[in-house]
């Protein structure tokens, strides 16, 4: 497990992988398990949803019905998944470069025959693999739980595309944090800006949905490209995930170029 920096990074992340995977997997099981109580509420719940303000609907993924499993799953679970993954992504992204520099371990690491580009890429690939592991655990929990709960149906292909879309969000938050880590003078500052970006993106998407005149600006926010409800209800599309992964790649490459050129901070 310690043959290279990629494997070492994965080893370091094994506990967070299990914690996030099992925690979010257990939450998925719970959410799916209590779905029948929502379905039973039937017409009353539909009426309640209809009376909800637009802002509430905007913040819960544009869901119009909670008695249908698709809408229920998106509003109660899938829509918040990127924000929870963002915590992991921001911690790992800001720690990858600035964190190592502030601990003083970057000097030691870069005294080895390993290039700065390799440091960035090994750490990035390892963390993206970790996010995949977390999403696989979540995917298994969701799929298995829907097999045992009446009315909860989830096609495997649609689940896979949703997880890919969620991965795109996780990758974007990670790569943006890594970019901040390469650019800003402290990990704390990078973490604060990363967190503001993630939470701000969520609010931005909801606000552009409900404020007239801002709708056209939705395309600027990452949550515009996270559409689990559309994946469940409409044709399978990889376009949104492609946009998120493309943006992630840009942040990763710019961060890499900056880190290659700048001084490594000493302690």
């Amino acid at each position: 497990m310690l043959r290279n920096l990629l494997l070492k990074t994965l080893r370091d992340q094994r506990i967070p992988i299990l914690a996030y995977g099992l925690g979010l997997g257990a939450l998925a099981l719970l959410i799916v398990a209590i779905y029948p109580t929502f379905a039973e509420a039937g017409a009353d719940l539909e009426q309640a949803m209809e009376n909800m303000p637009d802002a509430y609907k905007a913040f819960t993924g544009g869901v119009l019905s909670l008695t249908e499993f698709d809408g229920y799953l998106v509003s109660q679970y899938l829509i918040i998944l990127p924000l929870i993954l963002a915590i992991f992504a921001i911690i790992e992204g800001t720690g990858a470069l600035r964190g190592e520099e502030e601990r003083g371990t970057m000097d030691t690491l870069l005294s080895l025959p390993i290039s700065r580009s390799q440091v960035v890429l090994h750490k990035a690939i390892a963390t993206l693999i970790s996010i995949v592991f977390v999403l696989i655990i979540i995917g298994v929990a969701l799929y298995v739980s829907t097999q045992f709960v009446e009315g909860a149906t989830l096609a495997l292909d649609r689940l896979a595309v949703i997880l890919l879309n969620t991965f795109g969000m996780g990758a974007l938050f990670y790569c943006f944090s890594l970019f901040l880590s390469a650019t800003l003078p402290s990990r704390r500052l990078a973490g604060v800006i990363g967190a503001v970006f993630a939470v701000g993106a969520y609010f931005f998407d909801a606000i552009t949905d409900i404020v007239e005149g801002l709708y056209d600006y939705r395309v600027l926010g990452p949550f515009n490209y996270f559409e689990p409800l559309a994946i469940l209800k409409e044709d399978l599309s990889f376009q949104n995930s492609g946009v998120l992964l493309g943006a992630s790649l840009v942040f990763l490459l710019v961060g890499l170029l900056i880190f290659r050129r700048r001084d490594v901070a000493g302690i």
Binding site: L2, R3, K8, D107, L110, P113
Partner: protein, 307 residues
Amino acid sequence: MAAELAIETRQLTKFYGKSRGVVDLDLDVRRGEIYGFVGPNGAGKTTTVRLLLDLIRPSRGSATILGMDVGSQSKAIRARTGFLPGELRMYDNLTGRQLLRFFGAVRGVSDMTYVHELAERLSAELNRRIGTLSRGNKQKIGVLQALMHRPDLVLFDEATSGLDPLMQQELYGILDEYRAQGGTVFFSSHYLDEVERICDRVGVIRDGTVILSDTLEAIQEKQVRRLRLEFAAPPPADFLTTVTGVQKESQQDTTVVALVQDNLAGALKEAAQHTVTDIEYEERRLEDIFLQYYDTREESDAAEPSA
């Protein structure tokens, strides 16, 4: 000549914004020697080491290690060098053994026999997590990782701090053997006694610039040393006044004190013409020389009018 040099810098300069790191640093470290790099805190020793490791980029000037450019061939250089700072920061969650296995894998070291041999000599604790080790025990792991791949050059930056005297002696022995096998050591330190103990040549850095670089013997020879002569009877008044390289400081009754620059033989030849009852020739240790340079600087600083 360049092929014989392990480290060569020319006008190497680093500014942090407006702050001085090092200025026009010219260094020649020969292969197979232990080069002591001395100076007080803030003189630019660590900046120099970090420039050589390509951790920071120079404002101007050039540096080569083992004939390779520090900027463009940094990875190849680091495959052939080892590094140990004064307080090595490592991954506290790993044991010493795991860390060495990781570093060994990255460095392509498959045979750990040499590492275990060094670990035994230094009594290094390999099975405890690094985070639980004392500073000295961490430093031993640092020595192992710096030497594990039998590098051509090791850069030690205040590396012996934290080691107890016995372990310091053991490390000096390891470095002596390493040099005997052709290895080069760049030994940055402010402990002058250890520099005197193990270094072949010494460079003195002051305010970011190397002000002196030579063998210890040559440096000592160049220094003015005080000679005190005691005679059976007072020598004549013009005693030692015509010997080149010697300046008479005082003469009282039968005692003559002179400052000898580089002609001890001339002074003794003239003294031998009289009955000498006692001779004292001041020994100049590196510490004295070092302090002389810094005292001179402080005096000139004090003489400078404030802006």
